[in-house]
């Protein structure tokens, strides 16, 4: 499992050259493929134990597809997702059941992930029953335990989702993710549907849970401030590729890729006196069906050079733990 002997400990998640293409078809009866949506186009990263990796980028950049590949909701076109060194898409039988207890997810809209007809305790217990054999008493005990962990009163167990506010529903979604005692939770926009005054509560809870339960997170979010607050490392995606990847601190202090710079410049600081170094990008993100040649970003890049349209830049390490894919570096 060791790679060139450099890494002593296998990270919890290792993603290798992960690719997902969706065929674009035409015709109803005799359908033919007219193109490929290159949603995820050869990305690699790792997530260590008790570590949070943030994935940022605009809509259509492939961050959600990446999270769905990790969750086995999609099969990769190429590449692998390794959990503790084992390909998650090749798991079967008992190993697969174990995978489902180890990896859980919390999505943006807690409305859509909670069954409105089930009491909270049944929603949470369902996650337990599916993945594990537990006694009835053990089940109730576990429900109370996870409710306590997410800061909900025990009385919540016998109520229905509609009796709770958005923030509380997200706590319930977290509780059911925690029920099987997972190691990794994929968080897809976990706070963006919540009210401003509630977001800090949930973000703090996520941090506390990580410390207490030794959790790893893959955090998919478009809000850069949220990612800075929660993630240890951050990867920036553009049109299916990772363009820059670094320790969160290093990335936010000195973003290098022109796209990262533009993305960060577009996030408006909550300060009327903040310097306005606007770098307004022209145009919009091109279609991933037929992405631009060379560096995908070159048609919008203010620093584009001749070779950018021809040669795809490789990811280069520019500092310890900071890689960027750009011909400028």
């Amino acid at each position: 499992m060791l790679e060139s002997g450099a890494i002593a400990v296998e990270p919890l998640i290792r993603v290798e050259d992960l690719t997902k293409h969706f065929p674009v078809t035409r015709g109803l009866l005799i359908s033919r493929t007219t193109g490929q949506v290159r949603a995820v186009d050869g990305i690699s990263f790792t997530i260590g134990r008790q570590e949070t990796l943030g994935l940022v980028g605009e809509s259509g950049c492939g961050k959600t597809t990446t999270s769905r590949l990790l969750l086995r909701l999609e099969r990769p076109t190429a590449g692998r997702v390794l959990l503790d060194g084992r390909d998650v898409h090749a798991l079967t039988g008992a190993d697969l059941s174990r995978y489902h207890t180890r990896v859980q997810a919390v999505f943006q809209d807690p409305w859509s992930s909670l069954n409105p007809r089930l009491r909270i305790r049944d929603t949470i217990a369902e996650a337990l029953v599916v993945n594990r054999r537990v006694s009835k008493a053990g089940k109730l005990e576990r429900v109370e335990e996870v409710l306590h962990q997410v800061g909900l009163p025990l009385a919540a167990a016998s109520r229905y989702p509609h009796e709770f506010s958005g923030g509380q529903r997200q706590r319930i979604a977290l509780a059911s993710a925690l029920a099987s005692d997972p190691e990794l939770i994929v968080l897809d926009e976990p706070v963006s549907a919540l009210d401003v005054s509630i977001r800090a509560q949930i973000m703090n809870l996520l941090k506390d849970l990580q410390a207490r339960q030794q959790l790893s997170y893959l955090l998919v979010a478009h809000n850069l401030a949220t990612v800075r607050y929660i993630a240890h490392r951050t990867a920036v995606m553009y049109l299916g590729r990772i363009v820059e990847h670094a320790d969160t601190e290093s990335l936010y202090r000195s973003p290098l890729h022109p796209y990262t710079k533009a993305l960060f410049a577009a996030a408006l600081p909550a300060d009327p006196d903040a310097p306005r170094d606007d770098m307004i990008l022209s145009g919009e993100v091109p279609s991933p069906i037929d992405p631009p040649s060379g560096c995908h970003f070159h048609p919008r890049c203010p620093f584009a050079m001749e070779q950018c349209s021809r040669v795809e830049p490789a990811l280069k390490a520019v500092a310890a733990g900071h890689v960027v894919s750009c011909h400028l570096y």
């Binding site: 005054s197 977001r199 800090a200 973000m203 850069l224 607050y229 408006l268 300060d271 009327p272």
Partner: protein, 331 residues
């Protein structure tokens, strides 16, 4: 407010309630503000605080039959809109006050081309022939910086990106050269780089037309960038208002202060964010005293008993909190 600018829109003690089977929802409960020519006022608050309802009541577009304006005035260049007939209001909407909503998808009709919809909107405003209207529509698209407007005229909404659709909505909204534009979270559905393009466009339109803008948002970044003044709403009322810089530098209402502190920053790393515990009260069952008191760490008996009046803090800066009441000696 800048005293030099003439006031275009003034809202006085507006109360708009929704009569539902759960009781009376006091969505807008005594809101007052004034908006000057070329000025942008940010109306900030969480969902359910009444900010969208405030915008809808100004245009008299409250959901029927539940919604009713029960008190107050909306003065547009001195004329009270609250007492106008529906026919009269139809001549106000789109011509004198326009509104842009969060999701452009809901503002555009999916079965007509963008050109048809623009021409339709322009026909209400001009008596020109089809040809001239079509030219005006193209021109309107060009003004909101839609590339290749001749081709875009023939496109259907689903063939356009979210940012492009919101530009079309913007083109329709400003086509009648309104005096007031109500923008209700117009960029929430857009990506950040597209958001910045759109906000810049709105500023350009404002600079050209001296529009007064009421910008409804929950994003302090947008407020800092766009607004001259800010009004913070909580549970149906404005709890603090003032010039943007004063409000950011010196927030005085505990809600404003706590809300600003709980937002993570792009530009600084923090170990732990202070969070506001609890949640806003339901608008059909409001506490007697200050509505923020149950979540306020400074609240005392008086706060729970009596709703505080608005006290002045600085130039055009005021807050409704007992803690900022001037002491009798300084009065």
């Amino acid at each position: 407010m800048n005293a030099a600018e003439p006031i275009v829109l003034e809202v006085k003690d507006l109360r708009a309630y929704l009569y539902t089977r759960w009781g009376v929802v006091r969505a807008v409960d005594g809101v007052s503000f004034a908006l000057g020519e070329g000025e942008t006022l940010g109306l900030v608050g969480e969902s359910g605080c009444g900010k969208t309802m405030t915008g809808l009541s100004i245009l008299r577009l409250l959901p029927e039959p539940a919604g009713r304006i029960v008190q107050g005035q909306v003065l547009l260049e001195g004329e009270n809109l609250v007492t106008k007939s529906e026919a009269e209001m139809r001549r106000v909407r789109g011509r004198r006050i326009s509104m842009i909503l969060q999701d452009p998808q809901t503002s555009l009709n999916p079965v007509f081309t963008v050109g048809d919809q623009l021409v339709e909107a322009l026909r209400m405003l001009h008596t020109d022939g089809e040809r001239a209207l079509s030219h005006r529509a193209e021109e309107a698209l060009r003004r909101v910086k839609v590339a290749a407007p001749e081709q875009r005229m023939r496109a259907y909404p689903h063939q356009m990106s979210g940012g492009m659709k919101q530009r079309v909505v913007g083109a329709i909204a400003v086509a009648g050269e309104p005096r007031v534009l109500i923008a209700d979270e117009p960029t929430t559905a857009l990506d950040v780089t597209i958001q910045l393009q759109y906000l810049t466009l709105l500023k350009e339109i404002q600079a050209r037309t001296r529009l007064a803008m009421l910008f409804i948002t929950h994003d302090f970044g947008i407020v800092a960038r766009m607004c001259d003044r800010v009004a913070v709403m909580y549970a149906g009322r404005i709890v603090e208002s003032g010039p943007t810089r004063a409000l950011f530098r010196n927030p005085r209402h505990p809600y404003t202060e706590a809300l600003m502190a709980s937002v993570p920053r792009m530009e600084a790393s923090v170990e732990r964010l202070p969070s506001i515990e609890g949640q806003p009260p339901p608008l059909h069952d409001l506490p007697v005293g200050c509505r923020f008191a149950p979540r306020c760490r400074y609240a005392d008996d008086r706060c729970r008993r009596e709703y505080p009046p608005t006290f002045p803090i600085g130039p055009a800066h005021e807050a409704a909190c007992w803690r900022v009441e001037p002491s009798p000696s300084s009065r």
